[in-house]
Each structure stands twice: as C-alpha cells, then as structure tokens.
C-alpha cells in the first residue's frame, strides 16, 4: 500500500514538472541570417532586477516594455535607448504571474497574466482602461489542484491565458491557454464573439494543445503557436482554421512584424529542462513570409548572450530588430538582423 502511495506521489510529481518537450525542426536548408546582440540593452536602476523575462513589447516610440516575474510580477518601461522610464501597475490586482505583454496600434499596453487569469489594457499613461477575465476570488482560499475533468470553458473566464492580439478593426483575440485549449475573439469593447477549440486539448485543425502564443496579421488572420502539438496554426478572422505549419519544431511563440510587408517570426525555443544535446537541435528562430515560406533563421540556445535560454516572447515591430525575452536567463536581448547579407550568401 505504501509503495503504491509512493508511486502515485512520484507519478503526480512527474506530471507536474515542466514539459521537456522538444523537437528538432524538420525543415532543411534554411539560410542563416547574420545578427548581433546589442550589449547591455536595458539599464536598470540600482536595486532593481528583472526576473523571468517572459514578455517583451515595444510601442511606436520604440519604448520597451518588460513584463517579468520578479518577487512580484512587474511591468517596467524603458525608452528606446534602454533607459528605465517607469514602472506600470505596481501592486495591481491583475498581476501575479506574468505571461505576455503586447502594445496595440494606439500604444495601449496589454498584459496577460496566467496567475490571475486576467488580461488588462493599460493606456499609454499606465491607467487601467479595460479588463478581461476575472481573478479567482481570494475569499475562496488556497485552492488545491482541480481533481476532476476540466470545467467547460466560459465566455468571459480564462484558465491560465497566454497571449493577446488585435485585428485591424480592433477586435481582440486571446489564446487561452494552459488549462483551456482555445482561442477566443472579442469585439473592441470586450464582448464575446467566437471561439475555436475548447477546454479540451486536441490535435485536429482548429483544436489546440497549449496555445502558447498568438498574433494577428494585417489581413486579420490569427497565428497561434500550438506548442504541445508542435505546430503553428493560422486561422481566419472568424477563427476557422486555414493551415498549419509543422516543420519548425515546437511552437513556442510567434510575432508578426509591422509595415506593409509583414513577416512572421517563430521560435523553436529550447525547453525548460534540457537533456544533453538539446541545445544542438533547438533554440533557433525562423523568419517566414505570411504565406508560410521560411526565408531564414537565426540564433541558438545558450546561457550567454547572444545565445537564448528559452525564448518566451519576441517583439518584431521592426523586422530587423528583434527584441526577445528569455525565461531562464532573466534577460532581454535586442537582435540586429542583417538579412541582406543572408540573401547574398544564399545567392552564392
């Protein structure tokens, strides 16, 4: 009896550890894009530290927002030169465990918090303009992990949501998340319109298994990093699946650049928990046209810059300046790409 108990405890512990899932990208002959990492990008005031830098975004002025897991989850703003500007949301109810920050076309700052299950829209001045989702009430006490099956997903309640994006009309799209497995669409005023997927994980098109990152392109199509299905899915604006991309390793996070010619950046991040050799087959970031044609790759796993220790999120407002936030190195890097050199190299 005791042995059974011990075994079940071990099994439970195994089920709880972070996923070691990794996959070597099957795509071949992708040209390398030369790049360099800007040294000492962010200047923190004395006594301030970044924690796990899971989320990073820039606004139209080039200011860099870092939503990170410090002792408390915090949101810092830096200017384009990396000087600390201010903190937003200090002590705010919707901050518990950072997952994503994105900046919309009007420079509003949106945070996605998987500890509070809340998505918050801050104005450029840092005032709360809108919230989506609700934090489970504290009065219910410390909750044990749910023993039973997932509850059916609800229109306005999330379960460890992961990311947010907008189409040109301002409709809101949310990937939700670690315990639901869906993408939800709201109008710009926060009213539910549609969802794809459900609370249950699945692998068919239009189903998800840990939708971990999301962005919307200029046509209103929705790109989802479907992490535990080792793929990206592209959905139309009404969340009907259009296609999948399955040859870029694990689908950690996706970024769509701004401007008339958009590119998609997709990260085959090395996992949390690395087996020997995993650095050799993971960690790179792919650059693709919106039709899915991969045109280059850059970067590699590594503890020291310019290596990446688990890229969690990318900002690619400028497709030649990629700002990446890393989980395990508590660091933000700005990568200066020189794609022309790659094209010249490929032509040789």
């Amino acid at each position: 009896m005791k042995r059974i108990l011990t075994l079940s405890v071990i099994l439970a512990a195994l089920a709880a550890v972070p996923s070691f899932a990794q996959r070597k990208a099957s795509i071949e002959n992708v040209p390398n894009i030369p790049y360099s990492s800007a040294p000492n990008l962010l200047k923190l005031p004395p006594g301030e530290y970044l924690g796990e830098s899971v989320a990073v975004a820039t606004n139209s002025k080039g200011h860099i927002f870092v939503y990170h897991r410090s002792a408390n989850t915090r949101l810092f703003e830096f200017d384009q030169a990396g000087n600390f500007v201010k903190e937003i949301g200090s002590g705010y109810y919707g901050f518990e465990f950072a997952h994503s920050v994105r900046v919309d076309k009007d420079d509003n700052i949106w945070t996605v918090d998987e500890g509070t299950n809340m998505i918050t829209k801050f104005g450029p001045d840092g005032k709360v303009l809108m919230v989506l989702g609700r934090r489970p009430p504290a009065v219910l006490g410390v909750q044990a992990a749910p023993a039973g099956p997932n509850q059916p997903s609800q229109k306005y309640i999330f379960c460890r949501p992961t990311d947010v994006g907008w189409d040109p009309q301002g409709n809101i799209f949310i990937s939700d998340g670690y315990c639901n497995n869906r993408v939800v669409k709201y109008d710009k005023n926060g009213r539910f319109l549609a969802q794809a997927g459900s609370e249950k994980a699945g692998s068919a098109l239009g189903e998800f298994n840990l939708p971990h990152g999301l962005q919307v392109d200029g046509q209103g199509n929705v790109w989802v990093a479907d992490r535990s299905n080792f793929r990206y899915q592209v959905l139309d604006n009404n969340l009907k699946p259009m296609r999948e991309i399955t040859n870029l390793g694990v689908g950690w996070t996706v970024c769509i650049s701004a401007g008339p010619h958009q590119y998609a950046f997709m990260s085959n991040s090395n996992p949390n928990g690395n087996m020997p050799g995993s650095w050799d087959i993971t960690g790179e970031i792919y650059k693709a046209e919106l039709d899915g044609t991969v045109i280059g790759k850059f970067g590699h796993a590594g503890k020291l810059a310019p290596g990446f220790q688990v890229v969690h999120m990318m900002d690619c407002r400028n497709p030649n300046e990629i700002v990446v936030g890393e989980i395990e190195s508590w660091r933000v890097q700005k990568l200066i790409l020189r794609p022309a050199a790659a094209e010249a190299g490929a032509a040789r």
């Binding site: 903190e87 002590g91 919230v131 009065v139 006490g141």
Partner: protein, 347 residues
Amino acid sequence: MKHPMTRRLIQALLAAILSAGVPANAQKEAPEIRFDSAPNALQLPAGVYLGEVGGVATNSRGDIFVYTRTGHPTVTTGTARPFAHGGSRLFQFDHNGKFVGEIGKDSYGFMFAAQVRVDPKDSIWVVDQMTNMVIKFDPQGRVALLLGRKAESVPVPARQAAGNGAGQPTDLFDRPTDVAWDAAGNIFVADGLGNARVAKFDKEGKFVKSWGKKGSAPGEFANVRSIAVDAQGNVYAADGGNKRIQVFDNDGNFKTAFTNVGNAQALCMTKGPNQFVYVSNSNPPDDIDHDGEIYRMRLDGTMTGKFGRAGKLLKEFGTVNAIDCRDENTLYVGEIGNLRVQKLALH
C-alpha cells in the same frame, strides 16, 4: 411598427394582470432613466490601482471612500499554521475625485473587501468578507469599534464550502457583506454569503439578535448581499440568490418582499423625506451579455425607473457591488468586474 391601439390593449392587459396580483415582470415596465457617467471620476496617483471594488461611499463633505481588493492575501509558509494577511485597501478621495490618502493601511482586518459605508456622523464602516470583520473608523480614521473576529489562520488547501448557512445566532460572522444603521444607531450586519442572516447590534456593539437562515421561504435567504434601513427603521435585505429584496421591521419580523428586482446585489437608501431605494440587478462576473441594470423603486416596491446594462464601457456595469446615493441624482457605483468606480448623473 406597433399600432397605438395594440399598445393600449397591451397596457390594459398588463394593468389587469397587475391588479390580479400575478407576480409581474416589472423590470420591463420601469421607464428608462437617462444618465451620464463622468470620465475619470477618480484620479489615482501613479502606483495606486483599484482592484475589484467591494464598496464606495461618501461622507457629508462629499469625500469618497473606496474599499477595494488590491491583491490576494499573502500566506506564510513554513509556519505551524498558515497565516494570511493583506489583500485590500481603503482609499479616500475628495469630492472632486482627487486622491487624499489611505485609511487602515496594513490593517489586520483587511483581506477581501466587501463593503464600505459612512454613517450619519461621518464614521467610516468597512466590511471584510474574509477576515469576517466589521470595522468602524471615526472620521479621523482611528479604529472606533470592531465587530467579529478574524480567524487566526487559514486552512490550506481551502476546505469545501465554508459556511453552513445555518444563520448561527452569534456575534461572529461568516462572509459578511454589508452594514446599515437605524435612526437610533442600532447596527445591522448582512451576514452574508456563509451565514444567511441579518444580525442586529445596539449602537455600542452589543449583540441583540439575528434572524434568517438558508432557504427560500419568507424570512429565509439564499444569501444576504446588501442591507439598508429606512427612516422608520425597517430593514431591507437584498436576497440576491432568491432574486428578491425582503423587508423586515426593526425587530426582524417579515413584512414583505419585492420579487421584481433580479439578482439584488447592491442596495442604497436615499436620505430625503421621500425615500426610495436603488437596487442593482448585478450580472455575474462571468457574463456581461445579460442583466446589469440598476432600478429605482419606492419603499412600497413600485419601480420608478431603471438604467444601464452589463458591459465594460462607461455607462455599462460589470457586477455592481456598491451604490452610494447620498445625493439621490448623483450616484457612485462600485464594480467588481471593471475594477472601477463610476460617478453617474441621473437626468
């Protein structure tokens, strides 16, 4: 396009139904009240944020008090028992909405904001749903009277269904939600979501009696979400789960119930000679596509108007938990869903 004849016929039919004593859906008949919501009603300094607003109330100078859930309580680990503290704050603003300061910072009794009310002498009363305390601050912000007691530690993980709803006749609370006073200063506590009763104390805090228990019969409650007392000392208890307001005399004898108010979650009794009640048919936090409107009714239960709906924009409401109506046409409304206070001007 409706023919006027048809409309008259419908009105006549409705009148007949009403006079026949059939429970009518008065919600649809209350006239719409036009109103506006002031943008930036409260100006928060940098680094101060409202969380879910449990309560909002004004004093006689028009100062505004907001009791809000600013974070989750912190539980210590590695101790013999898990202790919990923090999670809610009480902010004060002047009548222009300018931030004045904070009362009760780091108070032992602040964990999960339920309500704040200001009594006729401008004392500020805070109700906390997790420490199970009602705290009276004098106008200078000093603790003047305490009701209930915070549990020494919290169970980890949480036990199922705290609160048996038995309406325990003691002076301890189980998830209280609101407080009110009669003209003599007697204190009435809505208790609440764990218990399902109203508790009466005299003005010095001596426990007098309580009434109600879990149920749906007259005098029973699904829960007591809000409470108000009129000038005659009658007690109005918002029994949201049973979709009604129950009215009792000053000793808790059941008088009547208003069943046309939806999920009554927040009550406010106006102060003038012709008193009336505002009541919110609050939408649940997981749904903004239904309900959410606020009703104005006479003390006999007659609806005289309604306004608003659920949503996230100004003039829309996200689970209203508090209404202040010191000025009966200028309301402060505290929302759980939208983490804000709106200042409404009714026309």
